[in-house]
């Protein structure tokens, strides 16, 4: 598998300096991404999903302590310097952020925003870059692209601006798109429209995508595979479409069950006790154990390894072989855990 991965993250551990001490934000994260595939990163706030993507884009704050490997097409990303790093960031990976308004310059026109990368990095003549920008805007479903190029970000709605961001991200034809909650700030109907465009662009350009979201349903409908983060660790990895039907970790199962449904009202939501922890605050042993309905003494002793569960995927739960297949049903019959 490794031979053909576009992106390979191997035993990645990241510590950041906070108030004079080093705090762990990612712990032993490993995964692979093949060309053209979409991988979903799901988890709650502070779980490390954004930090993973920032590490891949080499956007960590100064003073960060990184161990492990990130390889892009076989090249060690942390060894990139100068021109090579610029080429990697400008041409190989592109990033789409949650808040498009905060990531566009309010005093520059949409046209400047779209053509800047083409002119400076690809040395495209201004005229040609503008023609390309018009083409890109049309591709992301924006009407009157010529007119939009002359407008400023404040003249566009959130959904339109996010489409402009997508257009800018794919302009240089990168091989990997890093999308950090690109639709979280949008209304549901706009989210659906933007997702259609993002998926279409991804398949047309043959790009791989890391898609961060906290929405399990969204991840399972737009990604091929999904990994679930908890407290800076990967706790589960499997095919996206099976994630909420047959979860491989008690945490994922608990998330699926805690979410209310449109179709029916639950008498009481099976809420998880306590609150999400960060890697820094995580206890010894399994980070999820204090909130887990299935935790046993063994869970609190050492950090469980990522176990292979048949052909289906990986799980960082030592009890998975016995629990597998019964998580969604059984969780309701176990005793209520108090925080």
């Amino acid at each position: 598998m490794t031979a053909m991965s576009l992106l390979s993250v191997d035993s990645l551990t990241v510590k950041l300096p906070v108030a004079g001490e080093m705090r762990t934000v990612l712990k032993d994260v490993s995964f692979e991404l093949e060309p053209g595939k979409a991988l979903g990163l799901v988890g709650e706030s502070g779980s490390g999903k954004s930090m993973t993507v920032r590490t891949i884009a080499r956007l960590l704050p100064p003073g960060a302590d990184v161990t492990g490997h990130v390889r892009f097409d076989g090249t060690e990303v942390f060894d990139l310097r100068g021109e090579a790093l610029r080429k990697y960031r400008a041409g190989d990976v592109s990033m789409i952020f949650q808040d498009a308004r905060a990531h566009t310059n309010p005093v520059r026109r949409i046209g400047d925003f779209l053509t800047e990368a083409l002119c400076t990095n690809q040395r495209m003549p201004k005229k040609q870059a503008e023609a390309r920008a018009v083409e890109l805007l049309a591709e992301v479903g924006i009407h009157n692209p010529e007119q939009r190029l002359r407008q400023y970000p404040h003249e566009l709605s959130g959904g339109l601006l996010q489409r402009v961001m997508i257009a800018a991200a794919v302009a240089v034809k990168p091989r990997l798109i890093l999308a950090d909650e690109p639709t979280t700030a949008l209304d549901v109907t706009t989210q659906a429209e933007v997702m259609v465009i993002l998926k279409r662009m991804q398949s047309e350009y043959g790009m791989a995508m890391l898609f961060i979201t906290h929405d399990l349903e969204l991840a399972s409908s737009v990604c091929d595979d999904t990994i679930v983060f908890y407290a800076g660790q990967v706790v589960e990895r499997q095919q996206a479409s099976r994630l909420h039907r047959d979860p491989l970790h008690p945490y994922t199962a608990a998330l699926v069950r805690a979410r209310p449904e449109i179709e029916r009202r639950a008498g009481r939501l099976p809420a998880l006790p306590g609150h999400p922890t960060t890697a820094y605050e995580a206890p010894d042993g399994c980070a999820f154990a204090p909130r887990c309905a299935f935790a046993q003494d063994a869970c609190r002793v050492s950090v469980p390894p990522l176990l292979r569960i048949g052909e289906q995927g990986d799980s960082r739960c030592v009890r998975m072989p016995e629990l597998h297949g019964s998580l969604l049903a059984a969780a309701g019959t176990t005793q209520e855990v108090t925080p």
Partner: protein
């Protein structure tokens, strides 16, 4: 059931700006909230749901229509402090962002005590007892009551905001996207808390949200708003299971779920 609803809103409208710059935020909105009931307002950004809420608690003066609380007209601003406080005791609100809706220099317990002081004549011991009671109701312990907001997580802050609203012993609690910013696991805790409080206290909810699943969990009746107007109104089950208006159907189909394909739910792409 009592013939006078707890809250009635009749042909409510709100326009902002003048002349060429005039925009209509809310137009001809009517609904009723029964005693002990729970009404959901669904809509996307700019649909006028928050403006409607702001008019009901008196933060915004309506351009048209009437707001009746127990049959009593309160469309006009309150005359005098006494009336203003009385209105505050009737209807309270919880906002979306628990990071900006709390005073960061005020301890949680003091924040609750301040509200109690405004609305009731209590001695120190009684105030202390009530603060503890409110803390218990929303699941905050003594240590958390003595801390500043910065020591609390988002979910805990939202509990504080709910306790603060309940301190005035309101008959109506308006929840404006009150669980939208929370993580899934915390959101479930707060939703359960809200249904407990409703059972225990008999408070009526006006629940504003863009999240249809959350609306299903909390609300008996639901209105769907678009561009400032109500497009559909009915029991939550009817609105969500058999939507009549195309916009309600679009909203429903846009929610990602098992086997969802974004391409099939969008009208234009």
């Amino acid at each position: 059931m009592n013939t006078t609803p707890l809250l009635a809103v009749e042909h409510l409208g709100k326009r902002f700006g003048k002349g060429r710059h005039q925009t209509t935020a809310v137009a001809d909105v009517s609904f009723q909230l029964a005693e002990g009931g729970s009404l959901g307002i669904v809509g996307e950004s700019g649909s006028g749901k928050t403006t409607t809420a702001r008019m009901i608690i008196g933060l915004e003066a309506p351009s048209e229509g009437r707001i009746l609380f127990k049959g009593q007209d309160r469309t006009q601003p309150a005359r005098g402090v006494k009336e203003l406080r009385e209105r505050g005791r009737n209807i309270q609100i919880v906002f979306q962002d628990p990071y900006t809706s709390l005073d960061r220099r005020q301890r949680i317990g003091d924040c609750l005590a301040e509200v109690l002081g405004v609305h009731f004549r209590l001695d120190r011991e009684e105030t202390k007892r009530r603060v503890r009671e409110l803390g218990e109701l929303v699941g905050l312990d003594e240590r958390q009551l003595n801390s500043l907001p910065k020591a609390l997580s988002g979910g805990q802050r939202q509990r504080v905001a709910i306790a603060r609203a309940l301190a005035a012993e309101p008959e109506i609690l308006i929840l404006d996207e009150a669980v939208s910013a929370l993580d899934v696991s915390i959101q479930a805790q707060i939703l359960n808390l809200l249904s407990d409080i409703r059972e225990e206290r008999g408070v009526s909810y006006l629940f504003i949200s863009h999240d249809l699943a959350v609306i299903r969990q909390v609300c008996d009746d639901t209105i769907v708003m678009r561009h400032g107007a109500v497009v559909e109104h009915g029991s939550t089950a009817a609105v969500l299971d058999a939507p009549q208006h195309p916009y309600t159907r679009l909203l429903r189909d846009s929610v990602p779920r098992d086997g969802w394909d974004p391409a099939l739910s969008t009208t234009r792409s």
